[in-house]
C-alpha cells in the first residue's frame, strides 16, 4: 500500500522503507557474522581434533610437568590397543642462523618414530617422512635416563622460519635458551616442514622440531650444571588402532586404563574434547543468537513503527478502500504484505551484507580476526531459518499497524 498524496510524501514513504530495510538488514547481518565466524572457528577446531592422528591425550597443569616420559612410552604402549605413544615437550628457545641473527622459535621435542603417526591428515603432508632426526626411538641419546648417549643434533625447521632467516637444509643452526650465542649448541638442519594455513591453534609459524632428549638436555644441561634431567614433557599423545579407534566404548576403556596408570594427570579422548567443543559451540551459538535477538527486536520495532506510520499517512487511502467495500482481510493482507516485503528486503540485505562483511574481514582485518573470518562457514540451513524467523516475526510486527488500520473511523478518514 503506497502513500496517498504528493511526491514529497511518496519520497518520505520510500525513505522510511529504506530505513526499515537498513534496520532489519543490520539486525540480520549481526547473527550472520557472529554465527558464521564463531561456528567456522569451532568447526575448524573440531575438525582438527577429529583429523588428528592420535585419539588420547595425557596432560598436566604447569609446564613440563609430566615426568618420566620415556618410561611412560613403554607403560602406555603396553596397554592393549595402543600402538604409538608420543611425548611432546614444547618450549621457546633462541635460534641463531649462520649470519648470527637471533630469534625466538617454538621448539618441539619429540620421539620421531612415535611422533610421526600422531600427525593428522592435514599435518602429515607437511612433514618429510620418515622424519630425518636420526634415532627414531630417541633411546640412544636418552640411554636409559643418563642422557650420556651420542646426540644426532638434527633439527627440522618450519618453512616460514627458514624463509625469514634464510636457513636451508644442510645449514648449521645454533640453539640456546638465552640470547647469548656463545652458550648455544650447533644443530644440523636436516629438513623443513610446513605449517597449516591457520594461526588459530597451537602451531607457531617459527618452529623447530628436534629429538626429545636433545631438547630436554638443552633445557636441563644447557649451562653445564650437571643436574638430573627430569625427562619431562607437556603432553603425551596416544595412537590406538583397530576396533579401539572406531569403538567409543573400547576407546573409553583404554583411556580409563591409562588414567589408572597416571591418576594424577588429565587423560582425555579427543572424542570427548570434540564433544565438549561441540557443546561449547552450541552454547556460543545460542548466546550469539540471544545477543542478536536484541538487534532483531529493535529492527522489528522499527519495522512496526514504519508500518504504523504508513497506516497513519495512508488513512484516507485505507478509508477509500474500506468505503468501497474491500474486506478487512484485504486491508490486513496489504499491511502484512508490506511488512513481509520490508522484512524480506532487510533479510536479503542482512544476509548479503553479513556475507560481504565476513569477506571483507577475511581480506582486510588484522591477523586473528582475518584468520577467524577466513574460517567462517555459511550454513544455508541456518541462514534460511534466520530469514524465515525474521519473516515470521515481521507478521507479528505488523499486527499493531493492522489493528490500527482496521479500527479506522471511516467517516473521519474520509473527511
Amino acid at each position: 500500500m503506497r502513500g496517498f498524496g504528493t511526491s514529497g510524501r511518496l519520497r518520505h514513504t520510500r525513505l522510511q522503507a529504506v530505513l526499515a530495510v537498513a534496520a532489519m538488514g543490520a539486525a540480520v547481518a549481526l547473527p550472520v557474522v557472529l554465527v558464521s565466524v564463531g561456528g567456522g572457528v569451532y568447526d575448524h577446531e573440531i575438525a582438527s581434533i577429529q583429523n588428528a592422528g592420535y585419539q588420547i591425550a595425557v596432560s598436566s597443569a604447569g609446564s613440563h610437568s609430566i615426568t618420566g616420559a620415556h618410561a611412560d612410552v613403554a607403560r602406555f604402549g603396553a596397554v592393549a590397543g595402543v600402538t604409538y605413544v608420543s611425548p611432546v615437550l614444547s618450549i621457546a628457545v633462541t635460534a641463531f642462523n649462520t649470519t648470527g641473527a637471533a630469534t625466538a622459535v617454538l621448539a618441539e621435542g619429540v620421539i620421531p618414530g612415535e611422533f610421526e603417526p600422531t600427525l593428522g591428515s592435514t599435518e602429515s603432508g607437511l612433514f618429510p617422512s620418515p622424519l630425518p632426526l636420526g634415532d627414531p626411538t630417541d633411546r640412544i641419546h636418552y640411554a636409559n635416563g643418563t642422557y650420556s648417549g651420542p646426540a644426532t643434533y638434527d633439527v627440522l625447521v618450519s618453512s616460514p622460519f627458514a624463509q625469514a632467516y634464510d636457513v636451508r637444509t644442510g645449514d648449521a643452526l645454533a640453539l640456546g635458551l638465552t640470547a647469548n650465542a656463545s652458550s648455544a649448541v650447533r644443530y644440523n638442519v636436516t629438513g623443513t616442514f610446513g605449517v597449516p594455513p591457520s594461526i588459530i591453534g597451537p602451531i607457531g609459524a617459527f618452529a623447530i622440531v628436534l629429538p626429545l632428549s636433545d631438547l630436554q638436555v638443552m633445557t636441563g644441561y644447557a649451562n653445564g650444571t650437571g643436574t638430573i634431567v627430569p625427562d619431562a614433557v607437556d603432553t603425551i599423545q596416544i595412537v590406538v588402532t583397530g576396533h579401539v579407534a572406531t569403538d567409543p566404548s573400547a576407546l573409553e576403556s583404554v583411556r580409563a586404563q591409562i588414567q589408572t596408570l597416571v591418576p594424577y594427570y588429565g587423560v582425555s579422548s579427543l572424542g570427548q574434547e570434540a564433544a565438549q567443543l561441540q557443546a561449547a559451540d552450541s552454547v556460543l551459538t545460542g548466546f550469539d543468537l540471544a545477543l542478536s535477538s536484541v538487534g532483531i527486536a529493535i529492527g522489528l520495532l522499527f519495522l512496526a513503527l514504519v508500518l504504523f506510520r504508513r497506516v497513519e499517512s495512508d488513512r484516507r487511502a485505507i478509508g477509500i478502500r474500506r468505503a468501497i467495500g474491500l474486506p478487512a482481510r484485504s486491508i490486513a493482507a496489504g499491511i502484512v504484505g508490506d511488512g513481509l516485503v520490508l522484512a524480506a528486503g532487510g533479510a536479503a540485505v542482512g544476509l548479503f551484507g553479513g556475507f560481504l562483511l565476513v569477506t571483507f574481514l577475511a581480506h582486510f582485518a588484522s591477523s586473528t580476526v582475518q584468520e577467524a573470518a577466513q574460517l567462517a562457514v555459511f550454513d544455508p540451513r541456518m541462514l534460511a531459518e534466520l530469514a524465515a524467523a525474521v519473516l515470521a516475526l515481521s507478521v507479528v510486527a505488523s499486527l499493531a499497524a493492522t489493528r490500527s488500520a482496521l479500527r479506522l473511523d471511516l467517516s473521519e478518514a474520509l473527511r
Binding site: F4, A317, I320, R322, A323, G325, L326, A328, L410, S411
Partner: protein, 233 residues
C-alpha cells in the same frame, strides 16, 4: 452484470453524536426517513447540518448512536461488520467531492478495485472496467493515473468506480463541488443517466440549488434534523 436490486432504507429516530462528555457534538438529532428503491433524492443544507453524516449512515460507513437504520426492513445493527462490508461492496457506490481515486492506480485499475474485492476474474474485470469508462466518456484515458486527469475526468472515473459492482444505491457527496460549471452539468447528466439506466437509488448531497433541482425528492437539513421533505409533482 445485473444491478443489485435497490432496497428500501429507513431511519427511525436516528441520532449520531461525536465525542464524549463536554466535547459531545450532536450531528444528527432524531432523524426519521424512508427512501424507496429507485428514488433520486437531494439533501441540501448549510455546512455542519449533518448531510455527510446522514450519507455515511445510509452507506453503512457509520452507525447510529441511537435509533434504528434498516436496509430492506432488517436493522443494520443486527449485521456483523463483515456483512456490512459485503453490503457496501455489492450494494453501494460512493462518489466523493474530492473524487478519492487511489493515486497509485490507473483509471482502469481504480474502476477494477471493487470488482477485485468481489472476486471477479481479471479478464472480466478489464472488460467491465473498459465498458464503464467508455460509458463515462473516458475510453482513451484508461491507462492514465489520477494526477494525469482533469477534475472532471477524475470525477467521471469515480462515477465509473461507483458503478463497478452495479450497486442498487448511489451516494454522492457534493460530487460537483470541485468542478467548474461545464463539468458540473456533465457529471450531473451522467449521474442522472446512469441512475435511470440502472433504476438505482441516488442520494445526492449538495449546496447547489441547481444541482438539487435535478432530483425528484428534496430533503432540507438544519442542525441535524430534516426540516424539509418535498417531492416533485
Amino acid at each position: 452484470m445485473r444491478p443489485a436490486a435497490p432496497a428500501t432504507i429507513a431511519l427511525e429516530g436516528v441520532t449520531r453524536t461525536y465525542g464524549h462528555g463536554a466535547d459531545e457534538v450532536p450531528a444528527l438529532r432524531g432523524v426519521d426517513l424512508t427512501i424507496a428503491p429507485g428514488e433520486f433524492v437531494s439533501v441540501e443544507g448549510p455546512s455542519g447540518c449533518g448531510k455527510t453524516t446522514l450519507l455515511n449512515l445510509l452507506g453503512l460507513l457509520d452507525a447510529p448512536t441511537t435509533g434504528v437504520l434498516r436496509w430492506g426492513g432488517r436493522p443494520v445493527g443486527d449485521r456483523s461488520d463483515r456483512e456490512r462490508t459485503r453490503l457496501r461492496l455489492e450494494g453501494v457506490g460512493f462518489i466523493f467531492q474530492r473524487f478519492y481515486l487511489l493515486p497509485t492506480l490507473t483509471a482502469r485499475e481504480n474502476v477494477e478495485l471493487p470488482m477485485r474485492a468481489l472476486g471477479v476474474g481479471r479478464a472480466e474485470r478489464a472488460r467491465r472496467a473498459s465498458g464503464l469508462l467508455g460509458e463515462v466518456g473516458l475510453t482513451r484515458r484508461e491507462r492514465a493515473y489520477p494526477h494525469q486527469l482533469s477534475g472532471g475526468e477524475e470525477q467521471r472515473v469515480a462515477v465509473a468506480r461507483a458503478l463497478a459492482n452495479a450497486p442498487g444505491l448511489l451516494l454522492a457527496d457534493e460530487p460537483t463541488g470541485e468542478l467548474d460549471s461545464g463539468n458540473t452539468q456533465a457529471i450531473l447528466d451522467l449521474l442522472v443517466r446512469v441512475r435511470a439506466a440502472r433504476s438505482a437509488t441516488l442520494v445526492l448531497v449538495t449546496h447547489n440549488p441547481e444541482v438539487a433541482a435535478r432530483a425528484r425528492r428534496h430533503l432540507g437539513m438544519l442542525d441535524g434534523k430534516i426540516v424539509r421533505d418535498a417531492r416533485d409533482a
